[in-house]
């Protein structure tokens, strides 16, 4: 009986210290203790604005946005993204044109302009920040699985 109490105490101690060591950087998902306490917000992360295109993890992944979009209008009245990425503005902006699929409705009919269902760009395309992921990303690229011998190792992507 006495031993089991000691064991329980040891387990609790190890659990609490080990847990706090692991959780030093990552915010706890359960919130503060007690839950009514106010928690300090983590610092805002800087946006990645280097304009370097990021490789897609799979062919139909929506490309991520490599520039700042702070203050860009995207509402019923105006879509700032389209001021550069629309087909007719790509010459002056030198920005990549939105995919041809964005000119099609869901039945595959090609429309004259941006399909309404593709209007809210930020539903799929998002800017990136320098934040460290809370959990390590174990994603393996398709090429790594099919042709592991041809992989140069770290592909340097994000």
């Amino acid at each position: 009986m006495r031993h089991s109490w000691l064991l329980l105490a040891a387990v609790l101690l190890a659990g609490s210290t080990g847990g706090s060591l692991l959780a030093q950087d990552a915010p706890r998902l359960v919130g503060p203790e007690p839950f009514t306490a106010e928690q300090e917000a983590p610092p805002m992360q800087r946006q990645i604005t280097d304009d370097v295109r990021v490789m897609r993890n799979y062919p139909d992944q929506p490309p991520v946005i490599p520039h700042s979009i702070e203050g860009y209008a995207l509402d019923l009245n105006a879509n700032k993204c389209m001021s550069c990425h629309a087909r007719r503005f790509t010459e002056q902006s030198q920005a990549p044109m939105i995919s041809v699929t964005h000119y099609q409705d869901r039945d595959g009919n090609t429309l004259g302009g941006l399909a309404p269902r593709r209007y809210p760009c930020l539903s799929c395309h998002v800017p990136q920040t320098t934040a460290r992921p809370l959990v390590e990303n174990m994603f393996a690229d398709m090429d790594e699985l099919t042709e592991p011998e041809r992989q140069p190792g770290d592909r340097g992507g994000r």
Partner: protein, 205 residues
């Protein structure tokens, strides 16, 4: 015709107040009149400028609820209100010319805004939203006409360091701004306020 003018002129000269004004002063001294006139001029000009400056502040603009509850609320989230270096642009910095003649001209045009306030042309949110495109177009036209002077009061092309800019921005400025092909407002619309319905505005779709 000439006869009428002559007769009107004689009638004007004959008015008692005009006759008194044209007579030499009989009781007031020359020193009183000159120095008093000078002092009165200083007071008049001083109070005129004070009034001009008092009506040229953000506080004065947002003393009307139309400005306070619509455009001022929108300004607050933008980089012209809060930023890393702590410089703030208030309403008159962008909406009133800084140079005297144009400032007075804009002040006269603003009497239309007083009219609008009295008769409530944008007294509710719905009315404001309904007129937003019209209001925005007036400001765009004004800035296109003066080559975005109010932007350039702070942001001048000569003091722009392209190396410090994002390459994307540097390229656009080099190609469109420095060549004079476009002016600031052509691309930078809606930077301090929400945009109206932009359908049909060049550069938007």
């Amino acid at each position: 015709m000439a006869n009428t003018i002559v007769r009107l002129w004689r009638w004007f000269r004959g008015l008692p107040v005009v006759r008194t004004a044209l007579k030499p002063a009989s009781t007031l001294s020359l020193a009183f009149l000159t120095l008093g006139g000078f002092a009165a001029g200083v007071i008049f000009w001083g109070s005129f400028n004070t009034a001009l400056e008092a009506t040229n502040t953000t506080e004065f603009c947002i003393s009307c609820h139309e400005m306070e509850s619509n455009v001022y609320q929108e300004l607050q989230g933008t980089i012209h209100f809060v930023n890393r270096s702590g410089v703030r642009a208030g309403c008159p910095d962008c909406h009133v010319p800084h140079e005297w003649t144009n400032k007075i001209a804009r002040k006269m045009q603003a009497s239309k805004e007083v009219w609008g306030h009295i008769f409530g042309s944008i007294s509710t949110r719905e009315k404001f939203l309904g007129l937003r495109r019209h209001l925005a177009e007036r400001e765009w036209a004004r800035m296109e006409a003066n080559d975005s002077l109010e932007c350039r009061n702070c942001h001048s092309a000569v003091s722009m360091d392209l190396a410090k800019q994002n390459p994307r921005a540097a390229q656009a400025h080099e190609r469109f701004l420095f060549t004079g092909e476009r002016t600031c407002i052509d691309c930078h619309k809606g930077i301090a306020h929400r945009l109206p319905d932009m359908s049909g505005v060049p550069g938007w779709q």
